[in-house]
């Protein structure tokens, strides 16, 4: 056993590229990922601050200090309303604060007073608006406390409570769409990468290792034709991986959860129309081409299946991280639509939440298509190089 162990270790240590892939590459990749996550976090903070929200206020005039606090909060536009609207979308507001008519009387009696904050958990902007209103209510609460204490000669540590009752008014379908928008783009990225890795490395480095490549190179097909054929197979594997994954997800929610109600949830309804599915599929294609070209280029460059699979696993991890980047809570800035993988996941999220912006779509599809073209060119060059046969 020790002899076998020793031989395998020597074998691995003498493969310089594998050593690089296993021991050196992580020290380059992980800092890059950390940098990326920090950048995303910073961007999200900036975007949250810059977000403009409209807040409907019912009975706002009855609550002292509220108007001043609302005016002082940047990025918030207060919209006076007669009553809580049936639909926040129709009222063109992101959240609604309902102040009951007799609130001052309650406070004067020393009773706790309640205000209602209506928002949609299924809407990032609405959630952000609700968070800001809560922050606005803090100084209002303080001012009321001081005012109450002054008028009653009491201590400020025992004021009547100003309770904010948050009420999520998301429809089940909206909540389902929101969850789908969070999950599906991320899962698509992961499944696409997982589905294509094996095919890409097998069709390139695997062909060399199995000694079938030389015969193939001696056929009348050009190197570009051969390479593009291989890429097409990898794209098919990537798309199949994604489609299978989504079908599995649909099966889980639409069939299994219904068949076994205990596994389901009464809080959301997952339903995605065929138009959205087609759009998601179309947005997936440039990314599938890009991913396939990257993996095939790796396969052409790698000396062995082991080396190729190691590099491919890093591509898989990058796809996972980029997919995770789409889980952010704020409306993404334009810059994120220039990053392959992430841009597609974000665009798919917009498709699923009916919030597609034309510029975002153009940037995401354009950048990914251009990146795919560049990677395909690199892959063709690597495959056309005679070293493709000798890199061992």
């Amino acid at each position: 056993m020790l002899a076998v162990f020793r031989k395998e270790v020597i074998d691995t240590l003498r493969d310089g590229r594998s050593i690089f892939a296993i021991f050196v590459f992580p020290f380059l990749l992980y800092p890059a990922m950390l940098f990326f996550i920090s950048w995303m976090h910073m961007k999200e903070g900036e975007e949250a601050k810059a977000l403009e929200v409209r807040v409907g206020v019912v009975g706002g005039a009855t609550l002292p200090f509220l108007a001043d606090s609302l005016a002082a909060m940047p990025g918030v536009t207060a919209v006076p309303l007669e009553a809580a609207p049936a639909s926040m979308d129709d009222a063109h507001v992101n959240a609604v604060l309902v102040v009951p008519a007799g609130i001052l009387g309650s406070i004067a009696r020393g009773d706790s007073a309640r205000v209602e904050l209506l928002y949609k958990e299924a809407d990032n902007k609405s959630s952000a608006a609700a968070a800001r209103i809560e922050r606005i209510l803090d100084p209002v609460r303080q001012a009321l406390t001081v005012s109450w204490a002054q008028s009653h000669g009491a201590h400020t540590d025992t004021p009547p409570l100003l309770v904010v009752e948050k009420k999520d008014v998301s429809l089940k379908s909206e909540m389902g769409r929101y969850i789908a928008a969070l999950l599906i783009p991320y899962l698509l990225m992961v499944m696409m990468a997982a589905g294509s890795m094996q095919t890409a490395i097998d069709a390139t480095t695997g062909e060399k290792e199995r000694s079938t490549l030389e015969t193939l190179l001696a056929t009348s097909a050009s190197r570009a034709e051969l390479l593009l054929g291989k890429c097409a197979a990898v794209i098919a594997a990537a798309v199949t991986g994604a489609v299978t994954g989504i079908t599995g997800l649909w099966f889980t929610f639409a069939v299994v959860a219904k068949a076994f109600p205990a596994m389901g949830t009464s809080e959301l309804e997952l339903s995605i129309g065929p138009d959205k599915l087609i759009l998601i599929f179309l947005t997936l294609l440039p990314t599938a081409v890009f991913l396939s070209a990257v993996l095939v280029a790796i396969g052409c460059f790698a000396r062995s299946m082991r080396e190729g699979q190691t590099y491919a696993s890093y591509v898989y991890m990058v796809a996972i991280f980029m997919g995770l980047g789409s889980l952010g809570q704020q409306t993404p800035s334009m810059s994120r639509f220039f990053i392959p993988f992430l841009n597609t996941a974000l665009l798919q999220r917009e498709i699923l939440t009916n919030s597609v912006q034309l510029l975002h779509a153009v940037a995401a599809v354009g950048v990914t298509t251009a990146a795919a073209a560049v990677m395909l060119t690199i892959a063709v060059r690597l495959f056309s190089n005679e070293a493709v046969l000798f890199r061992t």
Binding site: R210, T212, E214, S220, A221
Partner: protein
């Protein structure tokens, strides 16, 4: 027809710098003849044949294969050749029929001509019993017959065999040599590399002895014997290659 003119191929080696694998190699092989490249392992046979098959690009010099220049018309060259190397393998997960269809398609054959060609070859090459079997489950002999069928499938004018009997048993090797002789009778141009003297003696019309990338002697088996005053090709080979070894 194969016409080779002063082929040179160098590779870059980190320790040794530019290393010439093939130098100043020239020869002609007309249709209906078998040309043998005879040399030790690493002598430059495979590199020469790979350049003729346009898998490698020469550093200098050129060659014409079936009338097409390997530098100017590589696709036409590849369309005109059948290439078989003893080292190359087949796709284990395909069936014999799928393999032939795949290579027929890559050779720009139509679907109907592929079907017709499979029917044409299945009898003479004894493919019927295993044509629809996965290659991974075939015996070595079956794979060999399939390999040979693949090489001649698109009916190429020129055939390039790089040590095609490597790893084969006597029966398998004999089948390959028989095929080469049949192809010669049909007027095809055949170039064949080997380090097995008896094979070269048996089927080659002309031989080039190659060592360290250079052709040291060239001619018919009989003329080489006479020049060296040796009775067997093996003795001729040892004398010629040995003289170079002695100069080192």
């Amino acid at each position: 027809m194969i016409e080779v003119q002063k082929l040179l191929k160098t590779f870059h080696d980190r320790k040794r710098g530019e290393v010439a694998a093939v130098q100043d190699v020239s020869f002609v092989c007309p249709p209906g003849k078998v040309f043998g490249l005879l040399g030790r392992n690493g002598a430059g046979k495979t590199t020469t044949l790979r350049m003729l098959a346009t898998i490698l690009v020469p550093t200098s010099g050129t060659a014409k294969v079936a009338g097409h220049d390997i530098l100017e018309k590589p696709a036409e060259v590849r369309r005109s050749i059948g290439y078989l190397s003893g080292e190359t393998k087949l796709y284990d997960r395909l069936t014999g029929r799928e393999l032939l269809t795949y290579f027929g398609t890559l050779a720009s054959m139509t679907s109907s001509s592929i079907v017709a060609r499979i029917e044409e070859l299945r009898g003479p090459f004894g493919l019927s019993d295993f044509l629809d079997k996965r290659i991974g489950k075939m015996s070595t002999g079956m794979k060999q017959r399939l390999s040979i069928s693949r090489v001649v499938f698109h009916d190429p004018q020129v055939l390039i065999f790089d040590e095609p009997t490597a790893g084969l048993d006597v029966i398998g090797a004999r089948a390959v040599l028989s095929l080469i002789q049949d192809l010669k009778k049909k007027g095809r141009t055949v170039i064949f590399s080997t380090h097995i003297m008896t094979e070269a003696e048996r089927i080659c019309d002309e031989i080039a002895i190659i060592e360290r990338g250079r052709i040291l002697a060239q001619g018919s088996v009989e003329s080489l014997r006479q020049k060296s005053n040796q009775s067997s090709l093996e003795d001729v080979f040892v004398e010629i290659v040995g003289s170079v070894d002695g100069e080192r």
